[in-house]
């Protein structure tokens, strides 16, 4: 997994709540058996509308997405973070995320940053002034931007360490083989008792 430490880039804003993963990557693109190549289908239906936020010139080349609450709700499809990452996003900022989507992002080095609703509103309004440049720092757990924008965020220590180091979670779990095997012996005995 690609580590995430500090990233500076242009932010695109999507001031909508409850953006579901069916919008992020519609079902007709889930038939592929690869992890790559989903970026061109990101927000497939919405991108056909000229007024869609990501079609604005100031969103061109964006690597940070700022969105409304409960981002990534609905289907568990990991194709959603694959599509966002493949399109070029490195971080997503929102007041809240759906649980499964949040976990899926962390598995792919795509940093989900939870800021307060007021801080996200401030970013939406800053984006009204033209292209918005932000800096997302996972080492310091802070987001900085123009006009003195500064916001701290929290992330659970385990996820943060995984992202900072780009660790392989399976490899880490397999080091606990003795504990897993001991648990299994007990569990399998219960099953035949």
């Amino acid at each position: 997994m690609q580590p995430f430490r500090v990233h500076s880039g242009r932010a695109a804003v999507l001031p909508r709540a409850n953006v579901d993963t069916d919008q992020i990557i519609p079902k007709q693109f889930l038939k592929r058996i690869e992890r790559s190549g989903f970026g061109e289908f990101l927000f497939h239906d919405w991108r056909k509308r000229p007024d869609f936020e990501l079609n604005r010139p100031e969103s061109t080349g964006a690597t940070i997405l700022v969105a409304g609450e409960n981002f990534g709700c609905g289907s568990s499809r990991e194709h959603a973070p694959w599509a966002l990452a493949d399109y070029g996003f490195r971080a997503i900022i929102a007041p809240s995320f759906a649980d499964i989507f949040h976990g899926n992002c962390c598995q792919n080095g795509l940093l989900p940053v939870t800021l307060t609703p007021n801080e996200v509103e401030r970013l939406f309004s800053l984006a009204g002034n033209g292209p918005l440049a932000l800096r997302v720092d996972l080492e310091q757990c802070e987001v900085t931007g123009p006009e003195g924008f500064h916001a701290g965020f929290t992330m659970d220590a385990y996820r943060r360490a995984m992202l900072l180091e780009g660790l392989d979670e399976i490899g880490r779990t397999l080091k606990l083989e003795a504990s897993i095997a001991a648990y299994e012996r007990q569990r399998d005995m219960e099953d035949v008792a």
Partner: protein, 467 residues
């Protein structure tokens, strides 16, 4: 030991390893696998030189992208066929129990798990599908995961999880005829919103839950995810045990008795506390129908389409205005009377035998409106066979419904069964997101009896008038 909730008991029984302040490593008793979210996981295992740790705790079928027409024909879509073939190869190589398209046990993964008795109280169950919450109806801790986590479970039979919070949802009172589990869960989602239970595991309780069949409890737990919950659970009781008894995967004889004895302890202790409690009086409940583009945008069938101005926040007003535009609805329009083009009875939410019986009771002696295309897609081939054994297929066919083979079908439209641009559909499925059932399609979620009544009238109607 202090009083514990059902969730806390199941959680504690599955912790393999835990470090202070960190997430737990949870053991997974049952891993369900399907064709759409697993190929990249198996590929990841191969690339890392890893193997499937417990094929005996893994169960696979094909459901998401498969056609539901003639099963003697090959899958016409080459990409779908490749995805199915990839699963066939992966499960064969790993020695995983698998129900292929031609199997009498094939079906939607969340229908066949319980049907086989593979789903049991007190288990941890995961699947690369958000509606895994369905299995919580049996007192299992069951939740959806992403493909990277599917790979993690294949390799380790464990999952790294942060401990969620707990929410009690108490359904009080007795619901009226024509109102049921689907209306109860839609009403809850309408009340707390699509993100209202994010970070929580819900335990459903109260008299109205105790009176529900297992099918009804599955409908409710199934849609927990539509309120954002990590999982939904119902404590097992005599209804649960009677439903499971004699199913292929459950123990028999003395072992059955001993197992049921253990299952009886799976309930929240008196005095156990929850982080949040929500109460809903079902005696006041009318049949529910969604009017917008997420399951929280829902109202009584007797209500009108709400106006954006009726909402407090600017974000809500904007979301409602956008939803009404997509749905082709004007504020103030009565929901009853909205013309429908299609009716879909199916999905892991509402395609079990009880659902088909309820819909058939409305359809007996009636005809689908001439300009409506209606289809039934049974939740599994076993459900289909059981329905045929009692003649339900004839009721549906004589009424003008298409009687099909099982799969996810038009719930998510990954196969050829999709809505056309602008088509309005009364659907027993679980998501009314934009384009969910086909690009430009307009979905109204409702119960099986409401779907059947809508098919007959060709418009949304109050099913209570049909009983």
């Amino acid at each position: 030991m202090p009083p514990r909730t059902l969730f806390e008991k199941v959680w504690a029984a599955h912790v393999v390893h835990e470090e202070p302040g960190g997430p737990a490593l949870l053991y997974v008793d049952l891993h369900l696998v399907h064709e759409v979210t697993s190929p990249q996981a198996f590929e990841g295992l191969r690339l890392a030189g890893r193997t499937v740790r417990r094929p005996d705790r893994t169960l696979a079928t094909v459901d998401h992208n498969v056609p539901t027409g003639d099963r003697s024909l090959p899958i016409a879509d080459p990409i779908s066929a490749t995805q199915v073939r990839t699963l066939v190869e992966n499960v064969r190589d790993a020695g995983i129990r698998f129900y292929d398209l031609g199997s009498a046990e094939q079906g939607i993964v969340h229908v066949i798990g319980p049907e086989l008795g593979a789903t049991q109280p007190g288990m941890t169950i995961v699947c690369g599908d958000s509606h895994t919450s369905t299995h919580g109806a049996f007192g299992a801790l069951a939740f959806g995961i992403g493909t990277s986590e599917v790979e993690h479970v294949l390799a380790t039979q464990c999952l790294v999880q942060s401990r969620p919070k707990t929410m009690a949802v108490l359904f009080k009172g007795r619901h009226a005829a024509g109102v049921g589990a689907k209306d109860m869960i839609l009403a809850l989602i309408g009340r707390i919103g699509t993100g209202g239970a994010a970070g929580f595991v819900i335990e459903y309780a109260g008299a109205a839950i105790r009176e529900l069949s297992m099918e009804g409890r599955m409908t409710i737990c199934n849609m927990s995810i539509e309120a954002g919950a990590r999982a939904g659970m119902v404590a097992p009781d005599e209804t649960t045990f009677a439903w499971l008894r004699g199913r292929p995967d459950v123990p028999v004889g003395d072992r059955w008795d001993a197992t049921v004895g253990r299952w009886r302890a799976l309930r929240s202790d008196d005095g156990a506390t929850f982080d949040r409690t929500v109460e809903i009086d079902v005696s006041q409940l009318a049949p529910q129908v969604t009017w917008g583009t997420n399951p929280g945008m829902v109202a009584d069938i007797t209500a009108t389409v709400p106006a954006p101005d009726a909402f407090d926040s600017a974000a809500d007003r904007q979301a409602v205005a956008r939803a009404l535009d997509y749905m082709g609805l004007a504020a103030g329009t009565p929901l009853e009377g909205l013309k429908v083009d299609r009716v879909f009875i199916g999905s892991c939410t509402n395609a079990r035998l009880e659902d088909l019986r309820a819909a058939a009771a409305v359809l007996r002696g009636r005809r689908v409106a001439s300009d409506v295309r209606a289809m039934v897609v049974p939740g599994s081939q076993r459900v289909k066979a059981a329905a045929e054994a009692e003649g339900l297929d004839r009721v549906f066919s004589e009424a003008g419904f298409e009687w099909r083979n099982s799969g996810c079908s038009m719930c998510l439209g990954m196969n050829e069964e999709i809505l056309g641009e602008g088509e309005r559909c009364a659907s027993t499925s679980n998501r009314n997101f934009e384009g969910r059932q086909g690009r430009g399609g307009r979905t109204h979620l409702l119960s099986p009896v409401m779907a059947a009544a809508a098919a007959v009238e060709g418009r949304l109607v109050d099913a209570r008038a049909f009983l």
